[in-house]
């Protein structure tokens, strides 16, 4: 089959690789009909995620059709149309059973590595480094889905892929980001990053009772999307000081909750951004925490920071004094897709949510390298690329 393989920083290739096979009883093989490039795939593309190896198939947001099931899977049959969550959960451990699927104990075969670095093991993610399991990713014609008897969501045949694909990853991530804000009626929620996750976080924040949502980004087309589809007020941080603008827009208080939908490749302005970029290049810190710092200072006293953008390792110069003295609450983590997917599918089926607006580019799988490039460089107004194997 054809698959997108990572080769080195800023280089992916579409190559011929063997087809996946059933390796365990609870496996299924899915023929992929749509797979997206996620913003967090850019961290891999850019070479920031450790333990990604040359030749690894990447990608974790996908849907398709069941073509083979293992003998331990009795609730799926060949021909079923399914959306698969990006994090892999066994469904049987304590964490899965408490709906904390991204903290699954049993899906990562390389758990020792992660335990050393993080002190514990978390769930594996498709195509997201050997630290997080080393599973072959979804930007391919076929994929092996482990523990396919749990978490995988069957979807009706008459709804187009573009409406359903993002319940695999981007929508539940945004939704969980908003849910962690514990939004009270009348709250103002600020969202850093207007990619797909940011857009869905804004829409979710309104669904949960926010009165005002403020979007922060530097690309006019993404801000325009936030204004038009997510009904957000917008701040372009390259034009105005985001911190001051947020104060101004919240009566001097600061937002009640702040969502980080950017993560470790955050951009800032001025000397501090230069500091992070340099330290990251010299491998003195792994992640650029610009958004984290800004949120800690901007948030109102007693407010909540919800971190959905991916961080991998170590960050420098965190204003913990601000967070401590203002009594901030931090909530964060990889999303528990399996917890939210059925609810989100229902919203889509009822016509209350149509996520297809984020798709700016549809490309054949062969053009994945081009897709990565324009998404990374934000060329051609690129917000979301969907690959069609």
């Amino acid at each position: 089959m054809k698959a997108v393989c990572w080769h080195s920083a800023n280089e992916v290739r579409v190559e011929s690789v063997p087809d996946p096979t059933i390796l365990n009883p609870r496996d299924a093989i899915i023929k992929i009909t749509s797979t997206a490039i996620c913003g967090s795939d850019l961290h891999i593309y850019g070479g920031y995620i450790p333990t990604v190896q040359q030749g690894d198939i990447i990608g974790h947001e996908f849907m398709g059709e069941v073509v083979e099931v293992g003998r331990g899977v009795d609730n799926l049959k060949i021909g079923d149309r399914v959306v698969v969550p990006s994090t892999i959960g066994c469904g049987k451990c304590n964490y899965c059973q408490r709906d904390m699927w991204s903290l699954c104990d049993n899906s990562n075969p390389n758990s020792y590595l992660e335990e050393k670095l993080y002190g514990n093991v978390t769930s594996a993610i498709y195509g997201y480094s050997h630290l997080l399991g080393g599973y072959a990713g979804a930007q391919a014609e076929y994929i092996r889905v482990p523990f396919a008897d749990v978490g995988v969501v069957k979807v009706p045949a008459d709804i187009p892929d573009e409406k359903l694909l993002f319940i695999s990853d981007a929508i539940p991530t945004g939704y969980m980001g908003a849910e962690m804000c514990d939004i009270q009626p009348g709250d103002t929620v600020a969202v850093w990053g207007c990619g797909a996750v940011g857009q869905f976080a804004m829409i979710s924040a309104y669904m949960m009772g926010a009165e005002k949502v403020i979007a922060i980004d530097r690309f006019p087309e993404r801000l325009e999307m936030a204004r038009k589809y997510a009904k957000a007020e917008v701040i372009n941080y390259e034009e105005v000081n985001a911190g001051e603008a947020l104060k101004e827009m919240t009566g001097g208080r600061g937002p009640d909750a702040c969502i980080d939908a950017v993560g470790l490749e955050a951009h800032g302005v001025g000397i501090e951004d230069f500091y992070d970029q340099t330290k990251q290049k010299l491998r003195l810190e792994t992640d650029r925490p610009h958004v984290l710092r800004e949120m800690m200072v901007a948030c109102r006293k007693g407010g909540t920071l919800s971190i959905m953008g991916v961080y991998g390792g170590f960050v420098d110069k965190i204003p913990l004094g601000a967070a401590f003295n203002k009594g901030l609450t931090f909530r964060m983590g990889q999303m528990h897709g399996q917890k939210y997917m059925n609810l989100l599918l229902q919203l889509i089926l009822e016509g209350k949510l149509d996520p297809s607006f984020v798709v700016t580019h549809q490309l054949p799988l062969e053009q994945a390298p081009h897709g990565y490039q324009i998404f990374q460089q934000k060329q051609d107004n690129c917000v979301k690329v969907v690959l069609k194997p």
Binding site: C5, N24, Y135
Partner: protein, 230 residues
């Protein structure tokens, strides 16, 4: 504990043993208590002295020989994992030692002879096998199993597994402690490899595979999946 009053003779050896006994029963850092003596000795003492192995304070002749020629100390590892299953289920699976190779990758096979004795074959590098007979020393249903290799083993080893209810609804805490005495000579390097560059990692991986098997019914793997590696 199975220590009887007959073991308590007021001497220091008995109180040492008692201390180890409470450590193993109580779940503190067992190795802290084992730094000075072999696990085999402790387990033997724990089992009530019914078997004629070295006592807690005596050293085996193999170990004396190793000490004399400066060969490595025994490898001791311990690891604990919480498994979302009741203790009896885990105990039952483990107690049939023939099941162990399903999650212990270095084992080729285990053959159970009777209630007490079993025969173990491990894969050594270069297609070699190492073999030994082991005896169960102490066996408390749903709680504790300890075993030691009998005299003449290729690799003298001993260990125990303990199953203890976890607080809340978290299942069972499973603790394993193992000790290997590596023989001298050219075999040493090969056998060191057999038990992994990092024995701590090996036992950690094995326990995690045991957990996967018991909870998820299968062991997560990526062996055999496609990639673009050449």
């Amino acid at each position: 504990m199975t220590l009887t009053s007959g073991d308590k003779q007021g001497n220091s050896q008995a109180s040492e043993t008692e201390r180890w006994a409470s450590l193993i029963g109580g779940g503190a850092m067992v190795l802290l208590g084992l730094r000075q003596a072999s696990l085999r000795g402790v387990l033997t003492a724990l089992a009530g002295g019914g078997l004629i192995y070295q006592g807690a304070t005596k050293k085996s002749t193999i170990q004396q020989a190793q000490d004399a020629i400066g060969i490595n100390k025994p490898i001791k590892v311990e690891k604990t994992v919480t498994i979302n299953k009741p203790a009896d289920e885990l105990y039952r699976y483990w107690h049939n030692f023939e099941n162990l190779p399903t999650f212990m990758k270095h084992l080729k096979s285990v053959k159970v002879y009777d209630q007490k004795r079993s025969h173990w074959i491990a894969n050594a590098p270069l297609g070699n096998n190492v073999e030994w007979d082991a005896d169960i020393l102490e066996d408390r249903e749903n709680e504790f199993i300890s075993w030691v290799s009998v005299e003449g083993a290729d690799v003298e080893n001993s260990g125990f597994v303990r199953f203890q209810k976890a607080p809340g609804d978290r299942g069972t805490e499973v603790k394993v402690v193992l000790e290997y005495n590596l023989p001298g000579g050219g075999l040493t390097a090969a056998i060191a490899k057999l038990f992994g560059e990092e024995p701590e990692q090996q036992i950690g991986d094995e326990l995690r595979r045991f957990k996967m098997l018991m909870e998820a019914g299968e062991i997560a793997t990526t062996q055999g999946q496609p990639s673009g590696r050449r």
